[in-house]
Point group: C2
Chain length 214, copies 2
């Protein structure tokens, strides 16, 4: 996939220095995963598949030494049980889910940073967040990169979030491409029925992109 | 319903002074709304009905002069389109939904407060949040009062949330009671099929309460 990013609360010592080049390489090597849209009026069209993309990232990050599902310290326990990934003091959250999870997960990292808390025995040094760009067709109410960007800008401007954050937007380019099309047990399921390589066409439409079988 | 509350970031001038007595009276006059649990192993048991309770509160608050679905200023637009209710500078959020909405909604109020923003042309003066107590049987991953309490305590301790907040926990007492049992089109639906008065028994079990038909 393509990626762009924006840094917030930059500090000397570049906390993402070690982790970032490997992660950027993994993103660049990530194919476009798609699934059939289940939304009314969208039947037959394809959209970004967060479940398969997440599985791919879990496998890739594990191979790079990241720990996944890292338990949160008791201090921030009311905000959830685990962060998606951690490496050294860097926390990585993959935010393909409903939009309010972004505020929840950013704010728990912000609280950990202020409290000088640890994740997997390392003091928290920074937060990496992956989100899909808004031009990728996705489920309604999924968080998208541009929205996360505006949220973070406000929280940083107002002095609420002081932890260094690199917000990463994942996208694709217009044109024909090979994609991985997955079929699930039902619309909300993570149970994979089938996965196949297909040719797709990504076109720019009025708001964002449209993905069809080529 | 019964209620308890906890104040955070108390300030001189008691921003909830005008709004609170009326709201407390409305809560006290709110019956126990229940629906059949759809969770595996829970069939036939009753649980707290957030949809019917919310409808009751909307009607009651409108009668008290609160505006509902008040549009958020553009500043916090990335965090949603509207707050549940507003009266003067007091924002009221009814948080019966999934837990991450709490952080999202508290943090947008915190940002508005820091930025001296307005809601319905009044400077934001305080945030009231209603949540159901954890002993009321509810859907998995619903926010509950005690969890919200621990989240807020951390965010206030760490200097993240500086807006005055009154967090209100709604509950019920052990014993026999009349309740309103509603049936919906399906487990996730808000489309009401039927609503009837029933006699229920609320009993204390190992973790919280259990509600059965009496």
């Amino acid at each position: 996939m393509l990626c762009e990013y924006r840094d917030f609360n930059e500090i000397a010592g570049a906390p993402f220095g070690v982790a970032w080049p490997q992660l950027a390489h993994l993103i660049a090597a990530t194919p476009l995963f798609v699934k059939a849209s289940q939304q009314a009026g969208q039947q037959g069209r394809l959209r970004f598949d967060p479940v398969a993309t997440n599985r791919h990232l879990v496998a890739g990050l594990s191979g790079l030494g990241w720990q996944d599902r890292v338990q949160l310290p008791a201090l921030v326990g009311p905000f959830g049980t685990a962060v998606d990934f951690a490496l050294g003091g860097i926390v990585l959250e993959v935010q393909f889910s409903n939009y309010p999870f972004f505020a929840n997960n950013v704010i728990r990292a912000a609280a950990l940073w202020r409290a000088r808390g640890t994740v997997a025995d390392h003091p928290v040094a920074g937060l990496l967040v992956l989100a899909a760009r808004g031009d990728l067709p996705s489920a309604n109410s999924s968080l998208y990169y541009e929205q996360a960007n505006r949220q973070l800008a406000l929280l940083v401007d107002q002095g609420i979030v002081t932890v260094p954050v690199r917000l990463v937007g994942l996208g694709w380019a217009v044109g024909e491409t090979t994609a991985i099309l997955s079929t699930y047990a039902d619309a909300r399921s993570r149970t994979l029925h089938r996965s196949e390589q297909v040719r797709c066409r990504v076109t720019a439409v009025q708001r964002g992109f449209r993905i069809d079988r080529a």
